[in-house]
Symmetry: C2
Subunit: 125 residues, 2 copies
DNA sequence: TATGTTATTAGCTAAATAGCTAAATAGCTA
DNA sequence: TAGCTATTTAGCTATTTAGCTAATAACATA
């Protein structure tokens, strides 16, 4: 279960456009190709990418992108693993799964309470 | 459908602890009682509350709470309606329903791709 | 060992954020 | 109309954020 502090970190991490785009592309494979070009045959998840590959997609400096990645890592939205002198970045789907669950529970409880109290349900109205 | 700009506003709105707590209590009825005490018989959703009622729960000034509420309103997380000289605040469940859907779609697509590519599914492993 | 590659740290600046108090606005009520 | 209640606006300050360059660290390889 994600506690409030962790949720705040996740919301903050995703509230910045650059971090949101990194998140989007890490989760949907938007950066995956560049990796193979750089080091064919390396044994990593084909969805994995690295800091400089991500940075290629932005007009920001490498340290800036590195700092954004650190924030996504601390929010547990991505995982990072050092192999050689590269950092391999992968999506952390379990955190997103938990977020989906939290929002869904809130909606379900809300709809259920509304039905209990008012006998209606705007969700199907 | 929520566009990226709207999602960024929602994440930003929920990244601050005070706003997160307001959100939590507006959605779960944490502030509802004070309203009746103030104006019995007024014709509003019993879950509705107002700015000063919310402010009672924090050690922050009324203008500070007012500004937080404005940000939640602009993120479409809550709705506000002026009745007389009060602002009645209600949860906007449709926005949260959309967020739940976005996260769930991301998770479902991710799991589906993983199964397609690797024949496994960490969700049930 | 020297050089190149990848990423982080340090130190800086400009802009945004979150808080405050005082004043203004809007509407109700005596 | 005068005064009361509810809320917002204006103007201020301290802190945080997001960007930069330069320097450093860690590792690979010629």
């Amino acid at each position: 279960m994600l506690d409030m502090e962790q949720k705040l970190k996740i919301f903050k991490a995703l509230s910045n456009e650059t971090r949101f785009l990194i998140f989007k592309n890490v989760f949907t494979g938007g950066y995956a190709c560049s990796l193979d070009k750089k080091q064919p045959g390396v044994e990593v998840n084909p969805i994995a990418t690295c800091v400089s590959t991500i940075a290629e997609h932005f007009n920001f400096s490498l340290p800036t992108i590195s700092a954004h990645i650190k924030e996504l890592k601390e929010a547990k939205i991505i995982t990072v693993e050092k192999k050689g002198n590269k950092i391999y970045i992968e999506p952390n789907i379990e955190t997103i799964r938990e977020m989906a669950g939290c929002f869904q529970t809130l909606v379900s409880n809300f709809d259920n309470n509304r039905e209990l109290f008012f006998g209606d349900n705007l969700a199907v109205k």
